[in-house]
């Protein structure tokens, strides 16, 4: 019985690892300047934990195999070094793993969340609502108009609650349903929600951040590849949660300028 368990646990372990190693299902290519560090961190964690996973499961299988032997030797063999060796091994091996991961990982995290956006970054205001994202650009005046929740009216397209009649800055604000950005230029987002919690998740940016009602949450990135990528909501927000998405369109600088002009002219 122990031998069957040993074979089964070994097979499960090797098959599980094989799919990780073969990258059968894998992350999409990274397109952000900060994502490289995340990928590096993931790789290190995969190797470190892969070794621990393999060692742990094989040791279990091996000991179960040995324990099913019908030796006549009734003297119980003790694990070499006893409990002390186990405790020391756990502290040292896992301790090193923790130290390395924390040291490297905190830098990757810091680059995304603890470093402010560059001063010249393109500012985009993002509003999430059940079940859509809207993006606002400041327009030619470079100024965002103020927000007035009481003026929000999806029917007339006033998703942000702008008051162009009384607020000059709001008059040229550009509101669109896609996040269009120029390639290789820092982008500074400000996330806020109209109703409940939502989240901004772009796999290719290696980035996820919640929209929290009542808060403006900053998030910044620089996209390095032209293309169209999905923005999806990852915070359960109601019945249409699964269908809440938008696109991130990364354009070349001239294409972006052209797009902006078109939007401003509308």
């Amino acid at each position: 019985m122990g031998k069957v368990f040993a074979v089964l646990v070994t097979l499960i372990t090797l098959i599980s690892i094989a799919f990780f190693v073969m990258h059968t299902w894998w992350l999409p290519p990274n397109i952000s300047t900060t994502g490289k560090a995340v990928d590096h961190q993931l790789e290190e964690t995969l190797i470190g934990t892969g070794v621990l996973f393999l060692a742990g499961q094989l040791m279990l299988g091996c000991f179960a195999w040995m324990a099913s032997g019908k030796t006549k030797d009734t003297r119980a063999k003790r694990f070499p070094g006893g409990a002390t060796s186990v405790v020391v091994t756990a502290i040292v091996v896992v301790g090193i793993e923790i130290f390395t991961l924390t040291f490297v990982g905190s830098k990757a995290w810091g680059a995304i969340y603890l470093t402010p956006a560059e001063p010249g970054a393109l500012r985009v205001d993002v509003q999430a609502e059940q079940f859509a994202f809207y993006f606002r650009y400041p327009g030619p005046d470079g100024q965002f108009g103020g927000l007035h929740p009481d003026k929000i009216d999806d029917g007339s397209g006033n998703y942000f609650g702008l008051d162009p009649a009384n607020d000059v800055a709001a008059r040229d604000d550009i509101v669109v349903g896609s996040l269009v950005v120029p390639v290789n230029r820092p982008i500074a987002l400000s996330l806020h929600s109209k109703d409940v919690g939502h989240s901004f998740y772009v796999r290719e940016l290696r980035m996820q951040e919640d929209f929290v009602p009542g808060l403006d949450i900053p998030l910044h990135f620089t996209a390095t590849q032209v293309g169209k990528y999905e923005i999806v909501c990852t915070q359960l927000c109601g019945l249409g949660h699964y269908n809440m998405k938008a696109y991130l369109e990364v354009m070349s600088e001239p294409d972006y300028e052209q797009w902006l002009k078109t939007q401003a002219g509308q």
Binding site: T45, F53, V196, P213, Y242
Partner: protein
């Protein structure tokens, strides 16, 4: 021979004779333990059927399930569930499993039945509290189940009930009116029940130990229930007021969790000044320790059972107990790792990450101690032993993925994906349930006086062990692709190619679930037809095996056991050529 002492603890109540006091409103901890087990059993099968429905919907969205339309004509017209009904059932699956199964079965059920016996007591310290805590839990269950039958069904906000979705009422969507009210009331009632239970466990462990039963002579399971009680006392004490505040936001117009300026259903909400993050902090201050409330009792159960089948003491008893205590302590410093991308100060992510990673050290120590204890043993591979081995394997698998999610820089990619689903199902749900299975096969003879069928038990083990890996291992791969959880359909471009993987998982889940029917049949068959069990069929050492199967009303038939040894006297020269010493075995010299 078990010595008789003049132990001062007298039984606080006499054996009842009427049906109601004997089987329904019983003060006997053994009956209450069985009641908790029964409630958990009902809950786990409801939860499992819900998971089947969810999985079928994900893999085959247009599949008609006739009885579903009878359960809710609005939620599943024609037997095909709507997106909101998917979320309703998802919420109920998570809530039932976390609260009514993973908290009730390994902790309340087995703890109630065996903690007093393992320490040589006749009952819990407060038998009436004990009865109250079960029936309060039952009331919570009834209130929770009632949400299936209200107008727009159970809530759709998930078992975490994040505000303001859960707080603003009907304007946020279906299920968020009366269904959400019932959810919050049920959980508040559940908290009261758990607080009563935890107090009782702590008082019993500290005050009612038999003569000679020092703390370090307590079996690992008792230690685990004791540590878990302390965790539960502090955790549910926070969730209870959080639920009360949520109820107040919903019905009394307060704004604890709702800020100003929210517009839902085209209406500006009449709230101001609240914080959605406050709910998350309060919820996870409970929620993370809850993980350990689910898993620690199972670790204790496994550590108690495994040596009986390896016929040798576990390696490092003090290290194991120390690790349990360390985990209990650390469990209160890590709640923020559920909130790395929640919008809280990103600096605090680093602060929460370190203790989260550090908690893997005591967890690794425990896993390695269990594994290393197998080394060189001559093992008896009965069903409880197989579930012990299975437990170690799934606990390793679930623990390993914790390394990823403990790091904010990786959580920013993996958060809210199926990687998380895989992680917590392995480490919290499957591992905990393997502890419950091991405990059931091991203690069933003591509880019912009959052995369970070994051949059915072994079939149950092999199918379940293979099955859970087929269900949950592929979810890691889905998570790496970025497959978001809690989606009722996969409409995003990148998710469509993953549907075959979801189909594989669904088929595996259906088969693994079906294997649980073998377990159910084994329980029923063995209860009436199983071979009669002796007093100590497994040749174990702890006190529950020093009394009849099942034990008499006062546990030891008027005797008060005296304890001379720890629970680890296995592989020794015992009396009559045996290889073990009962905890009650008097030393030869005496």
């Amino acid at each position: 021979m078990h010595e008789v002492s003049t132990h001062p603890v007298a039984h606080q109540h006499t054996a009842p004779t009427g049906f109601i006091r004997k089987y329904v409103f019983s003060l006997d901890h053994k009956v209450i333990g069985k009641q908790y087990y029964g409630l958990a059993l009902v809950s786990v099968f409801i939860g499992m059927v819900l998971s089947w429905l969810l999985r079928i919907h994900l893999a085959y969205p247009d599949y008609h399930i006739p009885f579903l339309s009878k359960l809710s004509a609005v939620g599943a017209p024609g037997g095909v569930m709507t997106p909101e009904y998917y979320l309703s059932l998802l919420t109920m699956h998570g809530t039932l499993m976390v609260f009514f199964v993973l908290t009730n079965a390994p902790f309340a059920a087995f703890g109630n039945y065996f903690l007093p016996i393992q320490i040589g007591a006749e009952d819990m310290a407060f038998p009436r509290f004990n009865m109250m805590s079960f029936w309060t839990t039952f009331a919570a269950f009834v209130v929770m189940m009632a949400s299936f039958f209200v107008a727009d069904g159970p809530p759709i906000s998930g078992w975490t009930a994040y505000a303001p979705l859960s707080a603003v009422g009907r304007d946020a969507g279906p299920g968020l009116a009366l269904g959400q009210d019932l959810w919050a009331i049920s959980i508040a009632i559940f908290c009261i029940a758990s607080l009563l239970g935890a107090l009782n466990f702590i008082a019993t462990t500290l005050d009612l130990r038999a003569r000679g039963m020092s703390l370090l002579r307590m079996p690992y399971s008792t230690w685990a229930w004791f540590v878990t009680s302390v965790i539960a006392l502090l955790a549910f004490a926070v969730l209870l007021p959080a639920c009360v505040l949520l109820i107040l936001d919903r019905v009394a117009g307060t704004s604890f969790f709702i800020p100003a300026g929210l517009v839902l259903s085209d209406k500006l909400q009449p709230h101001s000044g609240g914080s959605p993050l406050l709910w998350q902090h309060l919820f996870w201050f409970f929620g993370h320790p809850e993980v350990y409330i689910a898993i620690l009792p199972s670790i204790g159960i496994i550590a108690t059972i495994l040596p009986v089948f390896t016929r040798r003491p576990l390696l490092g008893p003090k290290a194991l107990i120390g690790s349990m205590v360390a985990i209990g302590f650390l469990s209160y410093m890590v709640w923020g790792h559920h909130m790395f991308v929640s919008g809280m100060n990103p600096f605090s992510a680093n602060i929460f990450s370190v203790p989260t990673l550090i908690i893997t050290i005591p967890a690794t120590i425990m896993t390695l101690l269990l594994t290393a204890s197998l080394y060189g043993a001559k093992m008896r591979f009965d069903t409880p032993a197989l579930f012990c081995l299975g437990f170690i394997s799934v606990f390793i698998s679930g623990g390993i993925s914790g390394f990823y999610l403990a790091q904010p820089s990786l959580d920013t990619y993996l958060h809210a994906t199926y990687f998380v689903v895989a992680h917590f199902h392995f480490v919290m749900a499957v591992a905990s349930l393997f502890g419950v299975f091991a405990g059931t096969y091991f203690w069933f003879p003591k509880m019912f006086g009959r052995m369970m069928s070994e051949s059915l038990g072994k079939w149950h083990f092999w199918l379940t062990f293979l099955g859970v890996y087929c269900v949950f291992m592929p979810m890691h791969y889905l998570g790496l692709v970025g497959n978001v959880r809690r989606y009722s359909a996969f409409v995003d471009d990148y998710l469509a190619p993953l549907i075959p993987v979801h189909r594989f998982i669904t088929i595996a889940a259906l088969l693994t679930g079906a294997a649980q029917l073998i377990f159910l049949w084994n329980l029923i068959w063995s209860r009436f037809r199983g071979p009669v069990a002796s007093e100590n069929p497994w040749e174990a050492t702890s006190l529950e095996w020093a009394t009849t199967s099942p034990p008499p009303f006062d546990n030891f038939g008027g005797k008060h056991p005296v304890v001379y040894h720890g629970p680890n006297e296995l592989g020794v020269d015992g009396p009559d050529g045996t290889d073990f010493l009962m905890q009650t075995a008097a030393p030869k010299s005496s």
